[in-house]
Symmetry: C2
Amino acid sequence: MLVHDESAAVHLLQRQAIKPTAQRVEIALLLLQEHQHLSAEQVLERLRRRGKAVSKATVYNTLRLFAARGIVQQVIVDPERVFYDSNTSDHFHFYNVDQGALIDLAPDELHIPELPALPSGTVQEAVDVIVRIRDK
Amino acid sequence: MLVHDESAAVHLLQRQAIKPTAQRVEIALLLLQEHQHLSAEQVLERLRRRGKAVSKATVYNTLRLFAARGIVQQVIVDPERVFYDSNTSDHFHFYNVDQGALIDLAPDELHIPELPALPSGTVQEAVDVIVRIRDK
DNA sequence: GTTCATGCAAAGGATTTGCAAGTTA
DNA sequence: TAACTTGCAAATCCTTTGCATGAAC
């Protein structure tokens, strides 16, 4: 869910029983202003560019917390870094390996038919589809 | 492609213009004896268990080389480790997040319909489908 | 006042790399 | 011999953690 102002961000965090500290609100405002995919380092860099002083540890801790609460979603496509996706609804991704950039597939662009039966004793958690692409 | 004896392993490597050193042949024989998904550390551990002395650096270098030559395929599902898949044909995976284990989906179990149009200026490299599961 | 969060620096863990010694063709 | 590979240890990179200071309720 996107938020565009501080009070919306504060409410979102409170709804998840997260104390809305200044740093967390800043990170929420940055990440949830639009659908995007950012690594922890990218979040840190953009906060800095905005003149916000947030430590690396807090960025990592906060992103982990947000992911655990379902405010953002981790995307695992590259062993080098985890991406955090502000779009938490069901959708799939292109991953441009040359640019290290994720792009959403429109939800109607790819439809997964029936899923196969799961191994017994397991439950489904998520389905990830990554179309890996590179520059021509 | 699987190999079950030393001479087949040597030929496979030579076909890819890879010098068939003792260590590389051992790794190929271990990995390509059957369809499986092993991390670098698992490969190292199994080599040791077989009494083969191969350094960690060589295991990592060799797996990277094999992947670059298409002898095995990297599978990115966990930020903690890369898996190497001895099955290089088109197929998808379950990933049991509790066990850290990959399981092949039978190729006919999930059929991806038409793929969406790629972003312009890009070419497709691969399609990964991961069904994340956990123990009930 | 407690409890929780922040931030620094240090610790961790997977992977890569520099380089000297050993191997391969 | 010329080129490449191995293996050790050190270096990297991303991420987590310990702990003292600081903020929140």
